[in-house]
């Protein structure tokens, strides 16, 4: 039985974007302050779970039609690729590279290949969390 949940659905529409933005902020903040790929991924998955609670699994799957197994696999591939790229340069595995660039709006910005590794972690965490919740949720 589905009661009138207009309040939760309206609130969700606003809150999901805030959570997603916060997830991305936490993800990028990881190098200098608490945060990183793992918590960022969990927060993003939390936003998706909130959507599933407010609406239902079929609706959310229709809005975001992705296979989360592939998301997790892509994340693993990105992380492994970042770490293994050092093999091509003849330095030990997992050696990271970094550089500073001047971007028009942001000014002096540091680029570090660890961010790419973290992006992989982010995707794996989102993928795995969503696989677990979807599988249990769809189980009759």
């Amino acid at each position: 039985m589905r009661s009138n949940d207009v309040i939760i659905q309206t609130a969700t529409k606003a809150v999901v974007f805030i959570i997603l933005l916060f997830a991305i902020y936490i993800f990028f903040a990881g190098h200098y302050s608490p945060g990183g790929g793992f918590v960022g991924g969990l927060l993003a998955a939390g936003a998706l779970v909130l959507l599933m609670l407010a609406f239902d699994i079929e609706t959310v799957n229709r809005i975001i039609p992705v296979d989360y197994v592939q998301i997790a696999a892509a994340g693993l591939l990105i992380s492994l690729g970042t770490a293994a790229a050092s093999i091509l340069f003849g330095v030990p595995f997992f050696t990271h590279a970094h550089t500073y660039v001047y971007l028009p709006l942001l000014g002096k910005t540091s680029f570090h290949s660890a961010t790419l590794f973290d992006l992989g972690v982010f995707l794996v965490v989102v993928g795995v969390t969503m696989i677990i919740i979807q599988t249990i949720g769809e189980d009759e």
Partner: protein, 493 residues
């Protein structure tokens, strides 16, 4: 190539990730998995060659200096084990084509096998005690998948026990590492080997050494801690069982040998004495189990426990003969267990049961299978031209040199019981009056039989060509007996 020690664990991991993208395309899954494992085997041979000609290879990840980063170390011991486990996994995958069901193949069976190999090869290669924990978890997670995949009732029941035992032992592993870290302040194995002899509080270190024996004893199934193994290994299908029987307990055995030769040598009078007593009790427990059952799987499973005891009895001696024997026997045992599980699996499929009393007369219809089984059984017992002989000979010799006379006699006596337990399968299944067998197509039989026969032939090569392999084995033993080689290779400059 500086990253060579990593290649045998990166290849299976990379291809396992690629396989996640297309789980339903079985033919492609089989082809990619086989190709990946063939590449891994080649890479591991290259690794052996480089380590044999150029000495121990060590790479510290992320270009950090040695005790601060995670070091991966390939000495001959770990390179040999990496090659052996890669070869066995290749044969397991070939054997799986016919003996694992399609619905399992569609549900990430091959990625699971490749991730398991990643964990096993990583555990054999790592030079960092916490990284060892992580790789053990990688292989355990993959084994949880493989043990429950298929969802039969027995699998569900046994996987709960298996996971429970392993979660508890992993928690113990973390506490043991925490104690060790709080005493020494380091996690790198080479650095531990430097720090531990400088610490005067031998008492606490002995406690930690025994705690590690308990932890790795859970993984490797030594005497009081083997109780989970017979039930858990009875549940999964045969290729998974062959993979577990050949690789998983051996990781625990490897970890005991590594820690007890590299850094827990401060109080050998207590720790190594304890290890040899436990090893002999393990042999006794295994022998009793191997003779007690009429179930082909159970008989071979209890033989795993016997072999763990024999290897650890050799490793506990800290003599050249004992250590060399333990290494040879370890490699022999991984291969022969895989071969026996393959053959017994075919027998169980042919009769449609694993109960010996319902079998008989297979020698008339499948003579090749019978002869290969007989060779494998003799190899397991250690009859001279075959692979079980040189290892056990060296272990017994080491026991006599080390004044462990009764222990050596005990190991010799256990060989008779091992022979009796496996010959019983031969007598019941292959001799006697023929019993109605399940009809299976000839090509299906051949595709299961050829990997099994190939594995037996490899063990024959290992036994008959023991002279060729001895330089590798004694090179591996030399590093274990002289931790300074290991320390110098890791903490160079």
């Amino acid at each position: 190539m500086i990253n060579l020690p990593l290649i045998p664990l990166l290849i299976p991991m990379l291809f396992a990730v690629i396989l996640l993208f297309f789980p339903k395309r079985i033919i492609l899954q089989r082809a990619v998995a086989t190709g990946a494992l063939a590449l891994t085997v080649l890479a591991s041979f290259w690794l052996i060659y480089e380590v044999y000609t150029g000495g121990i290879l060590a790479v510290t990840l992320g270009s950090w200096p040695a005790p601060f980063g995670i070091t991966l170390v390939s000495d001959l011991f770990s390179a040999l084990l990496v090659s052996t486990s890669s070869i066995i996994t290749l044969f397991v995958v070939l054997y799986s084509f016919e003996s694992i069901r399609k619905e399992r193949e569609k549900f990430y069976y091959y990625p699971g096998v490749l991730f398991l190999l990643t964990g096993v090869n990583g555990a054999f290669t790592t030079g960092d005690i916490f990284n060892l924990f992580v790789f053990v978890e990688v292989l355990l997670m993959a084994s949880y998948l493989l043990i429950v995949l298929g969802g039969e009732k027995a699998q569900l029941r046994e996987s709960i026990k298996y996971i429970l035992v392993n979660v508890i032992s992993s928690a113990l592993f973390v506490s043991a590492v925490a104690y060790l870290y709080s005493v020494t302040g380091t996690l790198s194995m080479a650095d531990l080997a430097v720090k531990i002899p400088q610490i005067e509080a031998v008492g606490i270190l002995t406690v930690i050494a025994v705690l590690f024996l308990v932890v790795f004893g859970f993984k490797g199934a030594i005497f009081p801690l083997y109780f989970w193994l017979p039930g858990s290994y009875h549940a999964p299908p045969m290729p998974v069982l062959a993979l577990f029987g050949a690789l998983l307990t051996k990781v625990g055995v490897y970890a005991i040998i590594r820690t007890y030769t590299l850094f827990f040598t401060m109080n050998t009078g207590y720790t190594h004495e304890l290890l040899s007593i436990v090893a002999l009790l393990t042999i006794a427990a295994g022998c009793i189990g191997a003779l007690a059952y009429f179930d082909v799987k159970k008989i071979i499973v209890y033989n795993i426990i016997i072999a763990v005891g024999v290897i650890l009895f050799g490793a506990a001696q800290l003599t050249e003969a004992g250590i060399d024997g333990a290494i040879f026997y370890l490699i022999h045992d991984m291969m022969i267990k895989a071969a026996l599980f393959f053959l017994v699996g075919i027998v169980a499929i042919l009769f449609g049961t694993s109960d010996l009393r319902k079998m008989g007369g297979l020698m008339k219809t499948r003579p090749a299978l019978g002869w290969f089984y007989l060779i494998a059984a003799f190899g397991l017992a250690g009859i001279p031209p075959l692979s079980g002989f040189p290892g056990k000979l060296l272990i017994v010799q080491g026991g006599f040199e080390d004044l462990k006379l009764w222990g050596s006699l005990f190991v010799l006596a256990s060989s008779l019981l091992v022979l009796m337990s496996v010959i019983r399968i031969f007598l019941y299944a292959f001799w006697g009056d023929p019993v109605e067998t399940v009809k299976i197509k000839e090509p299906v039989f051949r595709r299961m039989f050829y990997p099994a026969a190939g594995m037996v032939i490899l063990t024959i090569v290992l036994g008959a060509g023991a002279e060729w392999f001895m330089p590798l084995i004694s090179g591996a033993g030399e590093v274990l007996l002289n931790p300074s080689f290991y320390i110098d290779a890791v903490l160079k400059e």
